[in-house]
């Protein structure tokens, strides 16, 4: 029979902790092994840029662009193969714009970001030092190859007779719009509503805040992304009106039932410029700069603009815009720069902690 008369409990604890070292080493080895084994599962690859080897690029995008980039990626891959013989494998990630930006800052290795608003791309510089401060001037049109705007999606026949922003604050109306703290689209919605109220006769920031507050009082559920809000409206049947990206509304209309919905264009809206950018720190580390830059530049090409228009984004290219003019009604639009002094000011005034959105909800 084995006995350890000499061991006191203290000695045993010390021995246990000493043995813990064995445990640490074993676990550390295992962790490194697992991590090494799953290198293939991570978006980075050590494959050099030699012709013939496949290059993987990660495009981190916002919520509603899923279908657009599925098509665009095919087109770009074909174009690049034909031009250089290299095979491109595009990987996509989608989610609320703010959420995606934060993920990239925290280490999600995006070669390219295509987000909903400049403020979120700015965060890559501000919070993560991943891109230079002048990123938006590197590509034409503030690095926004396509634009969109904000419209309303209503039930077929518009039973509640919603014509303009002021109808949204009627007591019998339920409005669906996502949460501006996480969704880019929601922030465009919010600012568009604000711009409308401020642009009314006798309008001011105070009256605009009161208007937006009344509007949000009619919102029963705040999804974290534009797509979630669309699903709530379309699938769950909640709400009388969805404030949406024009491209989302048009897509819902054409794909899910021209017999179920109607689109209402308000009297005034905001020019939404979703920007794109190469993520410098990542592409330099992964040696994918050439491809990544080509990827974002191709968005401005005729084919890129065509695909954008097909997916209901307003193209920048005049020729393509002319061809698709029918599906994009003329609409007075303000810009963030004119109406709000740029995104930094708008974010600080409205969406940061203590901004107008917080005030609206805490007072309710």
């Amino acid at each position: 029979m084995k006995t350890n008369f000499a061991d006191s409990s203290r000695t045993l604890t010390i021995r246990a902790l000493a043995n813990a070292r064995r445990g640490w080493i074993a676990l550390a080895t295992a962790a490194i092994m697992v991590s090494a084994c799953s290198e293939s599962g991570s978006p980075s690859t050590h494959a050099p840029d030699a012709p013939g080897t496949a290059i993987k690029l990660l495009n981190v995008s916002y919520d509603p662009t899923r279908e657009f980039y599925a098509d665009y990626n095919k087109a770009f891959a074909a174009y690049w193969k034909q031009k250089t013989g290299q095979v491109i494998i595009m990987q996509q990630s989608h989610g609320g714009s703010g959420k995606q930006a934060r993920a990239v800052v925290d280490g999600l290795e995006a070669d390219v970001v295509t987000l909903a608003l400049a403020y979120d791309v700015d965060a890559l510089n501000r919070e993560g030092q991943l891109i230079p401060a002048n990123w938006s001037s590197r590509l034409p049109d503030n690095s926004s190859p396509y634009t969109s705007t904000i419209v309303f999606l209503v039930r077929k026949g518009n039973p509640k007779n919603i014509r303009d922003w002021n109808d949204l604050v009627r007591p019998d109306i339920q409005v669906i719009t996502p949460n501006p703290k996480t969704s880019g689209g929601a922030r465009w919605n919010y600012l568009a509503a604000w711009a409308y109220a401020k642009g009314l006769k006798g309008g001011s920031d105070a009256s605009a805040e009161a208007f937006v507050k009344a509007l949000y009082k009619n919102v029963p559920v705040l999804d974290s992304g534009s797509r979630g809000a669309t699903v709530t409206f379309v699938e769950r049947g909640i709400g009388d009106v969805l404030i949406a990206w024009e491209n989302e509304a048009l897509m819902a209309y054409s794909q899910l039932g021209a017999d179920k919905f109607d689109i209402v264009t308000p009297s005034i809206s905001i020019l939404a410029e979703p920007p794109v950018s190469v993520v410098d720190k990542v592409v330099d580390r992964r040696s994918t700069r050439a491809v990544a830059e080509a990827y974002v530049q191709y968005l401005y090409s005729h084919e890129g603009q065509e695909i954008a228009a097909r997916h209901f984004y307003r193209p920048r290219d005049a020729g393509v815009a002319q061809e698709h003019a029918a599906q994009f009604p003329a609409l007075p639009m303000v810009t963030v720069g004119e109406a709000f002094g740029g995104w930094s000011k708008a974010q600080a005034a409205h969406f940061a902690d203590g901004g107008s959105f917080d005030r609206i909800y805490s007072a309710q």
Binding site: M1, K2, S9, L12, T13, A30, A31, I32, V34, S35, S38, E39, G41, S42, P43, S44, H46, L58, V60, D63, R66, Q91, Q92, S93, H94, G95, A103, V105, D106, G107, L108, E109, G128, G225, R227, G228, T230, V231, V234, E235, A252, Q255, L256, R285
Partner: protein, 280 residues
């Protein structure tokens, strides 16, 4: 213990009906709705949804994660139960509480802490980036987060079981000249194998179904870092309820298999029934 018939008072039967209604509506109905919605457009649409490449890779990733997480927690569970059940030491209850802790931690917090440690701006972030090791937003991060969430499952099953079994048999083996390892393999292991299986079942079910923690640490890269639950959320957000519920039905089937296996195990080995656990 066989249930006996109480005098079948009206009150008794009413209560019974209430109980069964509650169970049926609250618990059974969600399971039913998964399959009904999955098959809402017919079996062809159902099978097509399952054959989708993104669904396939999500399923593969889920299986990979489970196949790493469950054995890790299995080994840990057995080790911890041996230390706790076969020995007496101070702070045992504190240790048990600490082991149980992940059970009560929100999955979002579970993901958050790993981002804090391994994210690009976290403790090890710069070092990991410099060495091109990817943990967060890659598969290892998902494995870590899932391991955290399923941490106590095996241990919770084994500790009371091994405590109830005591140490006499192992002591006898030792006194007959067996080494510790031999005693474990030939005496303890056969005794605990059903409890082990039980714990593994539960651990696996949770590992394959984990959502909140993985949602924080995955990059939601389609076809790459989306587990099946995340993929279900994506499909849900793509106006594709049939595909979403079809993928959900895979996990629901897994849940049913787990339930059946659990029920069979409990029938044969009633000592496995979860009861008051953790004797001092």
């Amino acid at each position: 213990m066989t249930p006996t018939r109480l005098p079948a008072g009206l009150a008794g039967t009413l209560l019974l009906i209430v109980a069964l209604l509650y169970l049926g509506v609250l618990v059974a109905l969600p399971l039913v709705v998964v399959f009904v919605e999955a098959l809402a457009k017919g079996t062809t649409a159902y099978l097509a949804a399952l054959a989708d490449p993104d669904t396939r890779s999500a399923l593969r990733l889920t299986l990979v994660v489970a196949s790493v997480t469950v054995p890790l927690n299995l080994v840990f569970g057995v080790t911890a139960s041996w230390a706790i059940a076969k020995f007496d030491f101070r702070g045992k209850n504190m240790l048990i509480t600490l082991i149980d802790l992940p059970f009560a931690v929100s999955p979002v917090i579970a993901g958050l802490i790993y981002v804090l440690v391994f994210g690009a701006r976290g403790w090890f972030g710069p070092w990991l980036t410099a060495h091109n090791i990817h943990i967060i937003f890659a598969v290892p991060g998902i494995i870590l987060a899932t391991t955290f969430v399923t941490f106590p499952f095996v241990a919770r099953e084994l500790i009371p079981l091994m405590q109830a079994q005591g140490t006499e048999e192992e002591q006898t083996a030792i006194s007959l000249g067996a080494s510790g390892w031999q005693a474990f393999r030939h005496v303890t292991l056969p005794n605990i194998r059903w409890g082990l299986l039980y714990g593994v079942l539960l651990c696996n079910a949770r590992a394959m179904g984990e959502f909140g923690a993985v949602s924080v640490v995955s990059g939601h890269i389609r076809g790459l870092t989306n587990t099946l639950p995340l993929h279900i959320e994506i499909l849900h957000n793509e106006y594709n309820p049939v595909a979403a519920f079809s993928s959900a039905s895979i996990l629901a089937l897994l849940a049913l298999v787990t339930l059946i296996a659990k029920a069979l195990l409990e029938r044969r080995h009633p000592e496995l029934r979860p009861g008051i656990a953790h004797q001092a």
